[in-house]
Amino acid sequence: MEINPAFDKYMDHYFDYLGFWDSPSKCGLKLVKRNDGKTLAIATEIYRQNPGTPITEVIAPLATQILKTSKETPGNFIFIEHTPNLGSKLSFYGETFDRVEFEWDGESFSNPVWTRLTNEQVDGMMEGL
């Protein structure tokens, strides 16, 4: 499976996770260790290359799994969901970024809340701004 070059800026590698009913699923992932010590995680939906559940539908368990993989603490963890532009004729099927904030129960994330971000905001967050 090759990385779509258009994804490169926000995605360094693939990340395997379990989707609905334990279906093997895959997303793009970029982990940025920022100057302020926090870890920014960008999870990218890779559509046709994802054999399982879309990231939005399992966003809280996915963020939990990425948090544990990154060995970061919840308070130092910033999570962004990225859906790339599919080049669809439906214009609203374009690229989006959402910061996703969760509740933490000591073991896992739950109750996601999405807030739309601009590309510039994301680029700034990657720099720790």
Binding site: Y47, R48, T56
Partner: protein, 438 residues
């Protein structure tokens, strides 16, 4: 109730009575009154072990009698608007002490909720899997979930569907037989905004071997079919081989999109393409030419028009309806966006907290259950009715449908496959007496 039979290996098995039910749902306002024989139950029926005797009820055409004269109950659900009725039926059977298993598309879309009403749910495709399920039932070891969502079967295992379970006379309207549903492939490579196939059938295109398709088509006693594949535009070579193999069968069929290559459309027309469902999402020359191209090959077009997308304003919707009249669509079916679970539409609207109605009976693609981007839900509802009324103002839907029937009849008359309507059923519509025959 039970009778003994010997299987081919000489083992003694109990003949099991399996009640298979297809729950009713409320028709969308404006839709035709037609009830098509369902596809999921007949595909499932082909995969059950030989010692199982199936008693099938399609609640859309007959009444369901719930009693304890069954061993095991299966509920097959395709639409989201079937799930609440399906759960109600299951609850009643379980009160009688009967075990209930659910399967089908909507079971997969609503799996967690359905589990609350089920002894077992089956997720995925059935071929090669039901022997174990029925054996588990026989041992009283039914599993809560049979999950094959990520494990599609070998496509060569998919044999002819078992349409013998259908009470075929119930699928006639005034003596005219409805099309039979048929599939030549599963899965889809696309991520279309309102569609859940990526979750249900996987993100790959899985065509059936052509010889298996021809075997099933040859056995079908109905000359008119609806090929329910998600798209016939996913693999050019397979499509061409499929259509070539279908030509001698002289079937007449309806399908979703066919690829826009001339050589493919030419073969499709020769293979009996009657009309296609084509999504019309804008007023572009691409769409205009696409419709013309179908018509050039003698293939009619029913436009499927989704209203309420985020890129549609009120003016866009009105312009779209005008455009549909300009391009001479043969039929049009208007729906409003219904954010079914496991679709991109659902994910997006959920993220934006725009879904305000979670009553699954309202997810019929005629009711607005979310906040549209450019108008109120009430205004979108008005525009939905405006679209139906305007498109069919000068020529009603029944007349346009009659024209389509005439087209297929003339094709059948010319190739000798025409069968007149059944006079003994002329006074019935889906098994019920007609009082006002036109």
């Amino acid at each position: 109730m039970k009778q003994r039979m010997h299987d081919i290996e000489g083992l003694i098995l109990e003949k099991m009575k399996f009640k298979l039910i297809y729950p009713r749902w409320e028709k969308l306002e404006g839709q035709t009154i037609f009830n098509l024989p369902p596809h999921g139950p007949v595909v499932m029926a082909a995969a059950v072990p030989d010692h199982v005797e199936i008693d099938f009820t399609d609640e859309n055409v007959e009444d369901l009698i719930i009693d304890d004269n069954v061993d095991f109950v299966g509920i097959s659900m395709m639409l989201t608007t079937q799930v609440k009725r399906g759960w109600e039926i299951a609850d009643q059977y379980r009160k009688l002490g009967k075990k209930v298993i659910f399967g089908g598309i909507s079971t997969m879309l609503h799996a967690e909720e359905t589990m609350m009403h089920a002894d077992s749910i089956f997720l995925g495709e059935v071929e090669g899997r039901l022997d174990d399920v029925f054996a588990d039932f026989g041992k009283n070891e039914l599993k809560k979930i049979y999950n094959f969502l990520s494990k599609p079967p070998d496509m060569s295992l998919i044999g002819p569907a078992n349409r013998n379970i259908l009470k075929k006379d119930l699928y006639y309207h005034k003596g005219f037989r409805m099309v039979d549903l048929f599939h030549a492939s599963r899965g889809c490579i696309y991520d279309c905004y309102p569609c859940a196939v990526r979750y249900l059938g996987g993100r790959g295109f899985r065509p059936r071997p052509i010889d298996k398709v021809v075997e099933e088509l040859s056995q079908l006693d109905n000359n008119r079919l609806f090929i329910v594949d998600n798209s016939l535009a996913l693999d050019t070579n397979w499509e061409k081989e499929l259509f070539k193999a279908m030509i001698p069968l002289k079937k007449k069929w309806v399908s979703h999109t066919i690829e826009d290559k001339d050589e493919v459309l030419d073969l499709a027309a020769q293979a009996g393409a009657w009309y296609v469902y084509q999504a019309v999402f804008d007023t572009s020359d691409y769409i205009r030419n696409r419709i013309k191209q179908y018509h050039d090959y003698g293939i009619a077009v029913e436009g499927t028009i989704l209203l309420g997308l985020d890129n549609q304003t009120e003016d866009d919707i009105k312009r779209l309806v005008d455009f549909l009249l300009e391009i001479n669509l043969d039929l049009a079916e208007f729906t409003v966006l219904a954010p079914f679970p496991h679709t991109k539409a659902y994910s997006d609207l959920l993220k934006q907290n725009r879904i305000f109605d979670k009553d699954w009976n309202h997810y019929n693609a005629g009711k607005v259950v979310y906040q549209p981007k450019h108008m109120s839900p009430e205004r979108l509802t008005e525009l939905y009715h405006y679209a139906w009324d305007t498109f069919y103002k000068d020529e009603p839907q029944t007349m346009k449908m009659f024209n389509l029937i005439n087209k297929v009849m003339s094709k059948e008359l010319s190739d000798g496959t025409y069968r007149p309507r059944r006079r003994d059923l002329a006074n019935l519509s889906f098994g019920k007496q007609i009082t006002d025959i036109v």
